[in-house]
């Protein structure tokens, strides 16, 4: 690749060891504190997307299994969890946080093997943040009386939680920690392509002596999820995933009295003004769209650059993209790992083809992709119109669309010109402009001179068709309590 003065500047491979991970050949469902076989005995393979090879066989829960799991959760709620003093619930959650920290390397490697994300991200972001989330909400469990003015917080009962494949353990933590802190019990359904860290978490929950049935984990497919949502024993549904599935769940729950929170898609604008620090901006844009291969609902997938600096920014971006390392997710130097599944790779490929067909100009750096597995190079489109599919539809891949604007008003109009409203980025050195823009963004999270920052104390969630309800912070308790006068 790149040579300067005769020195080879390419990085030597730096593979993370898979030794900490002990995979079983087959996994059952976690119900009532036990690993059990699915009633119908159905199994499905989970695949390492970096190799295409199966890692293990996973149980596929059907309606009968879901029924057992909900019954176990109900029994655990009525049998003591709801009446346990908050201070005791807190201690269980602190234990879980500590156990996750102790086994962090094992979780990180397993997350990368099952989901394809770079080990640098699973090691430095996913797993530490998951542990932090349990630690944060542990502290709320005995302080709920201080969380809500003039109201007492009562638990709801059994929460059904359905999570996506892009941050498997982290999403499990985001769902479980506040639900348990507030005194609910849970049936959690991991995504079909990334069940392994949730199943390893089951081991952690057992090691923490969490009472049987407080958390139940049912792996499976769409049928499993539908059975869980429709189960009459469920009091609350929390879903993170696509907007279309969110619509279907909303319709299914209509008139049932079950509570619902949704964290759905996004098509975030990342807005760059001409006075911004452009080298810092370049790093921010790259982090905004190529973090986790762009498989992030809040990804900064629409770059809005002020016209006067558009060529400069695109040039800097292309030079930076040339240095991104795409490949083995277990290599500690990898920037962009594997796409989560063949189906997701197909969707990305199809949308990229539509961008070319509709007349946008595609740039991808000259990089060699691994021969096996599901990979997509970082991609950048210029000459994009607001009507193009690539600037309207959520791609969920490493694909950036560049649009331009002249005035701040035009930037606001273009940024909000989407049915979504999850996140937005603003880059400028002018403080008053940041606040003026932030006020006008129809988005739940606004990153100014930064992007893709997450914290257990910071609420996350969207406006409009990006869903409703927040996860993180005090606001993240509200979906899991009934406020009583």
């Amino acid at each position: 690749m790149e040579r300067a003065g005769g020195f080879n500047l390419e990085y030597a491979p730096a593979p993370e060891s898979v030794a900490p991970v002990r995979l079983a050949s087959q996994y059952g469902l976690f119900i009532g504190g036990e690993m059990v076989e699915p009633a119908a005995g159905r199994l499905s393979a989970t695949v390492n997307p970096a190799t295409g090879e199966a890692l293990a066989e996973i149980g596929v829960a059907d309606a009968a299994d879901v029924d057992r799991a909900v019954a176990a959760a109900r029994a655990a709620w009525e049998g003591g969890w709801r009446d346990l003093p908050g201070a005791e619930r807190a201690k269980y959650l602190y234990r879980v946080a500590r156990l996750l920290q102790e086994r962090a390397r094992e979780f990180a490697v397993l997350e990368t093997m099952d989901g394809g994300k770079p080990i640098r991200e699973s090691r430095d972001l996913d797993i530490p943040l998951a542990a932090a989330h349990f630690f944060y909400y542990a502290g709320w469990a005995d302080k709920l009386d201080y969380a809500f003015s003039g109201r007492r917080a009562a638990s709801l009962g059994v929460a059904a939680q359905i999570i996506p494949w892009n941050f498997p353990l982290l999403m499990a933590a985001w769902k479980l920690a506040p639900a348990l802190a507030c005194g609910n019990t849970v049936v959690l359904k991991p995504a079909p392509t990334t069940p392994l860290t949730a199943l390893l978490l089951a081991e952690v929950l057992r090691d923490a002596d969490l009472p049987p049935g407080v958390v139940n984990i049912v792996t499976g497919d769409d049928v499993t999820g539908a059975a869980l949502v429709a189960h009459p024993g469920v009091d609350k549904v929390a879903f993170t995933g696509s907007t279309d599935v969110g619509r279907a769940i909303g319709a299914e729950l209509a008139g049932t009295g079950k509570r619902l929170t949704l964290e759905l898609g996004g098509k975030a604008a990342n807005i760059v003004f001409d006075d911004a620090a452009l080298d810092q901006v370049t790093e921010g844009i790259v982090n905004g769209i190529y973090f986790n291969g762009g498989q992030v609902c809040c990804a900064g997938s629409r770059l809005l650059v002020q016209e006067t600096v558009a060529d400069t920014v695109v040039g800097k971006l292309q030079r930076r993209m040339d240095t991104l390392r795409v490949g083995d997710p277990l290599d500690k130097n990898t920037d962009i790992g594997a796409i989560n599944s063949q189906a997701q790779l197909d969707r990305i490929t199809e949308l990229v083809a539509s961008g070319v067909a509709e007349g946008a100009e595609l740039y991808t750096p000259p990089c060699e992709l691994p021969e096996r597995g599901f990979f997509h190079p970082p991609a950048l489109f210029t000459n994009v119109s607001t009507a193009h599919r690539i600037s309207r539809e959520e791609i969920f891949g490493p694909v950036l669309s560049v649009l331009t604007f002249r005035t701040a008003e035009e930037a606001v109009a273009k940024a909000n010109n989407t049915p979504y409203g999850l996140s937005a980025g603003i880059w400028t050195e002018k403080g008053s402009r940041i606040l003026w823009m932030a006020d006008r963004m129809q988005a739940g999270v606004v990153w100014a001179n930064t992007f893709n920052r997450f914290d257990s104390a910071s609420p996350f969630g969207g406006y409009r068709e990006s869903g409703y309800g927040r996860e993180g912070g005090r606001a993240g308790l509200l979906p899991y309590v009934e406020l009583v006068a």
């Binding site: 003039g150 606004v446 406006y463 927040r470």
Partner: protein
Amino acid sequence: MSSRLSVNKTYKQFVGGAFERSESGRSYPVSGAGGQLLAHAVQGSRKDVRDGVAAARSAQTGWAARTAYNRAQILYRVAEVMESRRDEFCAEVLRAGDGQSEEAAAKEVAGAIDRWVWYAGWADKFATVLGGANPVAGPYFNLSVPEPTGVVGIVAADEPPLIPLVSRLAPVIVSGNTAVVLASERCPLVAITLAETLALSDVPGGVVNIITGRRDELAPPLAGHGAVDALDLSGCGPDLGADAARQAAATITRVVSASAAERQWAEEAAQSPYLIDAFCETKTVWHPKGR
């Protein structure tokens, strides 16, 4: 000598700050507690609902951009104007209602006025109570603030005639939302009298739009309207509520309904800052700290 012939009021819908008949030209008879005819109320149409949403949409940005202090004063002004017309409200509630006593009617009106005063005071406080700084694990400024979600559709409970409507409307608009209200189907007239006080209280046109008519016909299109951001379906029965919620799901619109405690309309439990929050979006802003 004959007594003076009274001048009867025509009760029209309230859309975009104007009192209008339905584009459909329909009306329906409204009778009082004793079965006597009180008036013919407008029987609004789907088109009227759409017009109400359009008026609410165009008023929303301006209303939200008012200072919190200004919205507080306007809501307080609503209480002032209602207080000055208290006898009229009492008489109207008594006429419309389900045979409640004079004392009960007076209590309902007083409760409704006091509810405006209570929510008026929240305008410049709820963000302090519901939002705040988040101590993130890194060198970042991080602040969460509740913002109005936009346009809210409200299906008012049928009875009593006044206080349920006020109890659900005030927390919606205090934060900067605008509203499209389907008034009580059985007792719609007092909602229009309320609209008159709103019009006299510097509430900008379009902030509150009140449609009268058949709930079964109008709630589903209101719920399914793409420009409606949240719904309060407190006035829908189980079947209609389910139907409206299905319409709402298609556009990812959240649905709120009054709890049993909140239906003790005259009680303190019927008012809460968390009712304001239910129609807000939490926005969180990050910025790095550095030299």
